[in-house]
């Protein structure tokens, strides 16, 4: 029997898991996919919003500003890349000014620090690539950029370091009530738990409906993006927004914390959570919309495109709290944007709810807020490099040449808590294959290393979910060679 079971290994579930690991509780995190951070958390704008978008008085508004303020500490402790690069919202005509001023007013009501209205010329002085049409802009110094999946992975790793358990490839298919809690029916073994926290993202309505009458519906809304080579990474230094429309925050242009440039998203309702494909029309609309902010982005430097799905609730706000008719069952649902920003604050809030329910469990005396340091080999000075290689020769073998990643780093990423089991998992943690060659060179090597370290044949190494088979068998020539 677990004290707490968290359904869903996105940034929300992982940060809640880490927060709970501060206490003496038995916690399990279950995730249906083969890796954590494989849902919305891996495909979004990666912006730590300042907090002027949400209406005052909403959960979105409250947790956005609180979450933003927590980012320096959380990312510092977990050594996750995070940068307060500041953001700007652009107005392109007089007619957009009321909306811009409205944002500024809302921001002040929400408690966003340092907001500043600047002229179009001042905006262009700070960002030379902005369009000449920009008449005024709202500048927010607390806006930031982060690596969302690194944050989720680091939180899960740290939580496991501190005693949390985790079960991947485990999908919850049903929930039964038992006298002192719930029994979760999964694609693996059944799990019993006193408290269940629903962090299932796009599927959080389905999970809710397993224990209670339907109270909300999640509408997946797709957003598509372009990712640019690092050569374009300095096109802008701030995150550049346009004035929001009823459809969302509009298309942004932003540097990523890894030095690439990101342009997107559009917003389009789709049928179900499987629709993560990009479309020619969607990408074209992103490009057109973005050209309004900056007309001279070099699309020849695009290295890839992707799509993410917003878990938009039909209630309009985050749904956070214990379900009345299901004691001990807590929804953390409908966490669309600014959910990433809000996540650290949501985690603290939910942990408080759980502690109350469990009668204030004692603090975990072994809790450490940091994880074993990551080695970023390419950033080390020359002598340190040689020293590492002497300790472990695998650091002398560069596997990904675009991002300068060594075999030693890949092996470490596999063997850490919440480590990588798939090619995408390795890619997500270290970025081999995310550079300009997109894995053309290092792909086969990564497969080889995964097979060796996980002690499985190369044909069993997967790109991502179990059905994403990479190699379909042995060649005729190879099997004949074995027989001969």
């Amino acid at each position: 029997m677990f004290d707490i079971t968290i359904i869903g290994g996105g940034v929300i579930g992982c940060l809640i898991g880490r927060e709970l690991s501060r206490y003496r509780v038995k916690t399990l995190l279950i995730e249906k996919d083969s890796d954590i951070a494989n849902g919305t958390t891996k495909a979004n704008s990666a912006i730590v919003h300042a907090g002027f978008d949400a209406k005052p008085g909403t959960l979105k508004g409250k947790f956005n500003v609180e979450g933003n303020a927590l980012y320096d500490r959380v990312c510092g402790e977990l050594s996750v890349p995070f940068k307060r690069n500041g953001s700007m919202v652009l107005a392109f005509s007089e007619s957009e000014l009321p909306e811009l001023y409205n944002l500024e007013k809302r921001g002040r009501q929400n408690g966003v620090p340092g907001l500043e209205l600047i002229s179009g010329d001042e905006a262009r002085r700070r960002e030379p690539h902005l369009a000449k049409e920009v008449v005024e802009a709202l500048y927010a110094p607390t806006g930031g950029i982060v690596s969302p999946w690194d944050l989720a992975i680091a939180a899960a790793e740290n939580a496991i370091d501190n005693g949390m358990e985790m079960s991947l490839d485990t999908e919850v298919t049903g929930i039964e009530r038992i006298p002192d809690g719930y029994r979760l029916i999964t694609t693996g073994t059944a799990i019993e738990s006193r408290i269940v926290i629903n962090c299932a993202g796009l599927h959080s309505d389905r999970i809710h409906n397993m224990v209670a009458t339907p109270a909300f519906k999640i509408i997946p809304r797709r957003g598509e993006y372009f990712v640019f080579d690092r050569s374009e990474g300095n096109h802008v230094s701030h995150t550049i927004f346009q004035c929001p429309t009823p459809n969302g925050k509009g298309v942004l242009i932003s540097p990523s914390v890894h030095g690439n440039l990101l342009v997107g998203p559009n917003a389009e309702a789709v049928q179900d959570a499987e629709h993560t494909e990009t479309t020619a029309a969607g990408l074209a609309s992103v490009r057109e919309a973005a050209s309004k902010s900056s007309p001279d982005v070099a699309y020849s430097a695009v290295i890839t495109s992707f799509a993410g799905l917003r878990a938009t609730p039909d209630t309009g706000d985050f749904i956070i709290g214990e379900v009345k008719e299901a004691p001990g069952f807590i929804d953390v649902a409908g966490i669309e944007s600014p959910g990433l920003t809000a996540a650290p604050a949501i985690a603290i809030h939910v942990t408080e709810l759980v502690r109350e329910r469990l009668g204030n469990p004692a603090a975990n005396p072994e809790f450490t807020p940091t994880r074993r340091p990551m080695v970023h080999f390419s950033h080390l000075p020359a002598e340190a490099k040689s020293a590492w290689i002497q300790k472990d020769p695998r650091f002398g073998r560069i596997v990904c040449r675009c991002e300068s990643i060594t075999e030693g780093e890949i092996v470490d990423a596999i063997h850490r808590n919440a480590g990588a089991r798939t090619v995408d998992g390795v890619k997500r943690r270290l970025r081999p294959g995310m550079g300009r060659c997109q894995g053309g060179f290092c792909g086969p090597r990564v497969v080889e290393i995964l097979a060796r370290e996980l002690n499985i044949p190369m044909t069993e190494v997967r790109k991502d979910r179990p059905a994403s088979v990479l190699l379909t068998g042995v060649t005729k020539s190879a099997s004949e060679a074995v027989i001969a």
């Binding site: 890839t304 002598e383 073998r397 060659c437 086969p444 994403s468």
Partner: protein, 422 residues
């Protein structure tokens, strides 16, 4: 700091030929640096025949071709290091390297030869919309799995792009029992060698769709299908021309790009058309003492030309070390004109040409029956009649040094009409 006369970056056919020729030309203290586990470069995964027709007058496999050079290099006692990655090359001719055996080191050379080869373009760069399932491979990565690991990448295959690697892999996959359904090429002609189209596609009844591209990839976990469509002259898909294939694999053979990350950090000037360094008659780059050859300069279709070009680079690197090169401003610059896409080398100092200069070039489109002409102003320096010209096949023109003596300014290379014969 360890010092060498010549450091060669890359141990593929280009690096090997350059090192051997440098040695034969009098340089003795030479080091080849190769990041892979063996020498030979991309040749090691090219197990098909077709290498060496020009240099050896016989058809060798890739590994056999490489082996001849590796043996010669060994016989000459040239030093090499495997599993050693060059991280940085600087314009003072120092290089940073890293290896499991020796850790991180900085070496100094009197001359450097860059021979890093090229890499494949990948899907993102060409932006096919759709999902991102397993089963999308660059043709070279697939070739590595199939030929070097003995592992199959799929069973029903569509190939995008008709570059040579894609063509060779279409045949390889068929021989290994896979069904290759189609090859789609966005251009109205193939960038591959004619002999590969015949021997790899037609002989196996694999259809080649020219002016077609992939408009979508389906499948969430593994590729389940792709749709191809015909494109108009602006390369935009024409609605209604779609053909759908149920398949589990998409191979991309959409072009190669010279691998010049090291050249960029060294401050070497690159030619935006070739993607490789701007070079002079010695195959020396814009940074004095740094030479380049093989696919890092321009993507070659035949390894024989790589060998020739690299011999030239190696010989001149040795001459530079031995003080036999006259430095100074170039006498001539080359320029591609009408129908010619690029010319290598880019500049010429006539005094350094030993017997003749070999101009290498590619045409912009397929042509029939044209003169390939080298001109100095209105004067024709050399003129050759060509029955067929295609962008997929590199052309070359050898010009004896006597014909160039005294010339300055620009040498243009262009195509001219052949007057109709009565």
């Amino acid at each position: 700091m360890n010092t060498y006369e010549i450091i060669v970056v890359g141990g593929g056919p280009a690096g090997l030929a350059a090192a051997i020729e440098a040695h034969k030309s009098g340089a003795k203290n030479i080091l080849i640096l190769e990041r892979d586990r063996e020498l030979g470069g991309i040749l090691q995964q090219c197990i098909h025949n077709g290498f060496g027709l020009h240099i050896f007058k016989e058809e060798l496999t890739g590994p056999e071709y490489a082996e001849r050079f590796i043996r010669e290099m060994d016989a000459l006692g040239i030093e090499y290091r495997l599993d050693t990655m060059v991280l940085e090359v600087r314009n003072d001719r120092t290089v940073d390297i890293i290896s499991s055996k020796h850790g991180f080191e900085t070496l100094q050379a009197k001359a450097i030869v860059l021979a890093m080869g090229c890499r494949e373009r990948t899907r993102g760069a060409i932006n096919i919309p759709g999902t991102r399932p397993a089963g999308v491979y660059s043709a070279g990565a697939a070739q590595r799995f199939v030929n070097m690991e003995g592992l199959m990448v799929g069973k029903r295959v569509v190939v995008l792009g008709s570059g040579d690697i894609g063509l060779i892999m279409a045949r390889r996959m068929t021989l290994e029992g896979a069904k290759v359904l189609a090859v789609a090429e966005i251009l109205p002609y193939s960038g591959g060698l004619t002999r590969n189209i015949v021997q790899c596609l037609y002989d196996y009844d694999i259809p080649l769709y020219l002016s077609h591209t992939i408009t979508s990839i389906e499948g969430r976990d593994r590729v389940e299908g792709v749709t191809i469509a015909q494109v108009d002259t602006k390369r935009q898909p024409i609605p209604g021309t779609e053909i759908h294939y149920d398949c589990d694999t998409l191979l991309l053979s959409v072009g190669l790009i010279p691998e010049n990350e090291l050249s960029k950090t060294a401050g070497i000037q690159l030619d935006p058309v070739t993607g490789g360094p701007v070079v002079n008659e010695c195959m020396e780059t814009s940074v004095p003492g740094i030479f380049a050859c093989g696919n890092v300069v321009q993507v070659h279709d035949l390894v024989d030309w790589v060998t020739e070009e690299s011999r030239k680079a190696g010989r001149n690197a040795a001459r530079l070390v031995l003080g036999q090169i006259t430095e100074g401003e170039p006498d001539l610059r080359t320029r591609a004109n009408h129908g010619v896409r690029y010319v290598v080398p880019h500049t010429i100092r006539i005094e350094n040409i030993e017997k003749e200069i070999d101009l290498m070039m590619r045409v912009t489109d397929p042509f029939k029956n044209k003169y390939l002409v080298v001109k100095h102003g209105e004067d024709v320096v050399k003129k050759v009649r060509k029955a067929h010209l295609t962008p997929g096949e590199m052309e070359s023109m050898k010009i004896p040094v006597e014909k160039l003596r005294g010339l300055t300014g620009e040498l243009t290379v262009c195509l001219e009409e052949v007057a109709h014969e009565a």
